[in-house]
């Protein structure tokens, strides 16, 4: 498995980063977070349609770019780095994966072109193997605020529901840059796109792909926190020296760099596995969430701490990354859930509770 970046991926990264540097600097992100509008639709159009990112993982015959989730992972890194307010994970990764398993090509083509977006009607905390069919109400759903279509898992299959038939109640979310909604779904006009078995597979595949690629977003978050903190401690002076010359600070940042380098290898492996539906993909995705979520949280916490007073302010963007990092660590399964899942997958069973 190639754990490095290909030239094509580096080109893609450069395009996405250029766009985000131009359209999505930290002060803009904070402004969006303070408004009622959850997503920057103009930014989404440029990312999804003009750069063609929405269709990266969609085959060319369905109107996509014919790349794979590996390339999507690079986009996720950049979106994480910028905390870009766009529904890429929910629509271009998770819903797109579910629709491919379900074989629903018309909606898939619309998602690929960026004309419409879709979201899975499950709480953002749902994980592979840890979700239940949606009831009439579903809480804490991500990437749904501006979605056109909902993918609703039911006991008898997977349905699409136009969001005009859905009451979306925005909730106050811990992560200011990834708004959540509670949903009340009217299924009168719902369309069944997969039977129970296929629907279950579609949802699990979406959650595995989501968990795998969320690791790349976490990597982007962690990398921003590391880079920003390193830049800060090089210039911030106390006691007549840059604080980055104190060993107490150097060693913390060295450890963080090591952790981020590890997260990169883990995230690349997970993206590579889900991109080719490798048999190791469930292990790779669980590993990715067991490892990269905590690394992003550590990076954001170190960023706040090592910035000292300024890091605790509303004005400095560090808090946006802290909130994103901690929320993603709870999203798509917590680290302990994924460790328990790994235990099953690699045959390291729980201790029996029976007394001999």
């Amino acid at each position: 498995m190639n754990l490095l970046y290909t030239d094509v991926e580096e080109d893609l990264r450069a395009s996405v980063r250029d766009l985000l540097t131009d359209r999505c600097p930290p002060e803009t992100v904070l402004r969006w977070a303070e408004q009622d509008q959850p997503y920057d639709k103009a930014l989404w159009r440029m990312l999804a349609t003009e750069l063609g990112c929405a269709g990266l993982a969609v085959p060319e015959e369905v109107g996509g770019a014919g790349a794979s989730l590996r390339e999507c992972a690079v986009v996720m890194e950049e979106l994480g780095r910028a905390l870009a307010p766009v529904p890429f994970l929910g629509s271009s990764v998770m819903a797109t994966t579910a629709l491919q398993v379900a074989g629903e090509t018309a909606l898939l083509a619309d998602l690929a072109s960026g004309a419409r977006t879709a979201a899975l009607a499950l709480p953002f905390s749902a994980a592979p193997g840890l979700w239940a069919p949606a009831e009439e109400t579903v809480t804490s759903v991500a990437d749904v605020a501006t979605a056109d279509v909902l993918l609703v898992p039911a006991t008898d299959g997977l349905y699409t529901v136009d969001t005009t038939a859905v009451v979306r109640t925005p909730v106050t979310s811990l992560d200011l840059t990834r708004p959540l909604c509670d949903l009340t779904i009217d299924r009168a006009g719902a369309t069944r796109i997969a039977d129970a078995e296929t629907g279950r597979r579609a949802v699990d595949a979406a959650l595995v792909a989501g968990a795998a690629l969320l690791a790349s977003e976490q990597l982007g978050v962690a990398q921003w926190c590391l880079d920003t903190t390193v830049a800060y401690v090089r210039t911030r002076h106390q006691f007549g020296r840059p604080i980055g010359s104190f060993q107490a600070i150097k060693h913390r940042l060295a450890e963080l760099w090591v952790a981020v380098a590890q997260a990169r290898a883990v995230a690349r492996y997970a993206a590579g596995c889900v991109a080719i539906a490798d048999e190791d993909a469930p292990v790779a995705a669980a590993l990715a969430q067991a490892f990269c979520g905590p690394v992003a949280v550590t990076a954001a916490e170190e960023c706040v701490q090592l910035h000292g007073g300024i890091g605790f302010t509303w004005e400095h963007p560090a808090h946006l990354y802290l909130k994103r990092a901690k929320s993603t660590a709870l999203a798509l399964g917590t680290a302990d859930h994924h460790r328990a899942a790994l235990a099953e997958l690699v045959d390291l069973p729980q201790a029996s509770t029976q007394v001999a």
Partner: protein, 392 residues
């Protein structure tokens, strides 16, 4: 040369030198001369000037053919540290003289770097080398020297100019370990065995022809050795559950009576950490395939040390009563570290050396902070001062 071309070359070699009938040493020498020893080395020096990653292919073909091995675990210091340094800084004559018997294992190498007064602060070393005609005369003491009792040669750093700041007065030599002025004494470790030695150098004569690099440039030359050492310690490619995690995972699977609920999540945390470390080493290996080891190797070594210590400690906890026993305190001088072949108590104790040997974890963090992250250097009192004026 393509991968296929290389395969053909190996096949031709094996036809010309039947591994079953060719004497071991003759086979190894011929393999070196055919450029199949380390393909990333230059033509005429055991290589073909090919990318480093192709060596894995070559090694696989030789192993599959039942070819005799140069027993890399026995000559790790030569292969991992002396060879890349000699290749980079040695003269043509030195390369031709040293590399072939180094690779075939005819000559074992050791590393004469650390001193009682110069561990982490290697540049403070006090072993003196004084010029006398065409020779250097060396006097001092080295410590933590593995394989010194078997070695033919030692890579040595010594002080040639005490009047300049410490980093600038060091020169790099190859020391003949059979010189009558070399005395090797085993140094017993907390595991009970003596993997390492103390080496006393008294009036050892080293010809100037065995100097590696310029006089006073020893510190820069030593950096190449140390970077490669850290890669050698932390950078081996291993399969999933290779190493210490495989030991405890195997124990967990085969000994259900040892399982306790509180230890399960700890086990899975280690499993996750070990697999992340493995993938990171694999990614580093892919990066290195084309180029030279950089300070990134320090990260692999840092993580390896921490995990090996934590997981070997976990093994003792998992074992409970059995952890109270030790296999053998007999003083021995092993030629390699048999980490998995010994008892859990030995693993726990030996792992304590992992964060000290090859650069302490503290020094590695400083290296990463300075060279990777570009953080400003700590305020120092020892850089602009002549070595002889430093407090000792």
């Amino acid at each position: 040369m393509t991968s296929n071309g290389l395969r053909e070359r190996v096949a031709d070699f094996l036809t010309a030198h039947d591994p079953a009938t060719t004497p071991r040493l003759e086979f190894l020498r011929a393999r070196f001369d055919a450029g199949l020893a380390w393909v990333h080395f230059p033509d005429g020096l055991g290589g073909l000037g090919l990318p480093r990653e192709l060596q894995t292919t070559v090694d696989g073909l030789f192993t599959a053919a039942g070819a005799p091995s140069n027993e890399p675990e026995r000559i790790g210091i030569g292969l991992g540290m002396a060879a890349p340094t000699i290749l980079r800084y040695g003269t043509d004559e030195q390369r031709k003289h040293f590399l072939r018997p180094l690779w075939t294992g005819e000559e074992v190498w050791c590393q004469l770097f650390s001193e009682p007064g110069a561990g982490s602060d290697l540049a403070a070393l006090a072993t003196r080398a004084t010029r006398e005609g065409d020779d250097w005369v060396v006097t001092g003491q080295k410590v933590w020297t593995s394989t010194a009792h078997q070695a033919r040669w030692g890579i040595l750093v010594a002080r040639t100019d005490p009047d300049v700041p410490k980093h600038r007065g060091i020169t790099y030599f190859v020391c003949d370990m059979t010189d009558p002025g070399v005395e090797v004494r085993p140094l017993r470790q907390l595991t009970g065995e003596a993997e390492f030695n103390e080496v006393f150098l008294t009036g050892v004569r080293i010809p100037d022809a065995h100097r590696i690099g310029d006089v006073g440039a020893g510190w820069q030359v030593a950096q190449t050795t140390l970077m490669n050492e850290r890669v050698a310690i932390g950078g081996r490619a291993v399969p999933r559950e290779g190493g210490m995690i495989g030991v405890v995972a195997g124990l967990w699977r085969t000994r259900p009576e040892l399982r306790r609920a509180a230890l399960h999540d700890a086990l899975m945390r280690y499993w996750v950490e070990a697999e992340a470390a493995r993938l990171t080493r694999e990614r580093l290996r892919q990066q290195l395939a084309a180029g030279e080891p950089g300070p990134e190797g320090s990260a692999a070594k840092l993580v390896f040390a921490r995990l090996n210590q934590e997981i070997s400690a976990f093994e003792l906890e998992l074992l409970g009563e059995e952890g109270l026993r030790y296999d053998d305190w007999t003083m021995r001088q092993p030629s390699t570290v048999d980490f998995t072949g010994r008892s859990p108590g030995y693993r726990y104790l030996r792992a304590k050396g992992n964060s000290i040997e090859g650069g302490t974890s503290e020094i590695l963090r400083t290296i990463i902070a300075d060279r990777v992250l570009g953080l400003p250097a700590e305020a120092r009192v020892d850089v602009q001062v002549p070595w002889k004026a430093l407090p000792k």
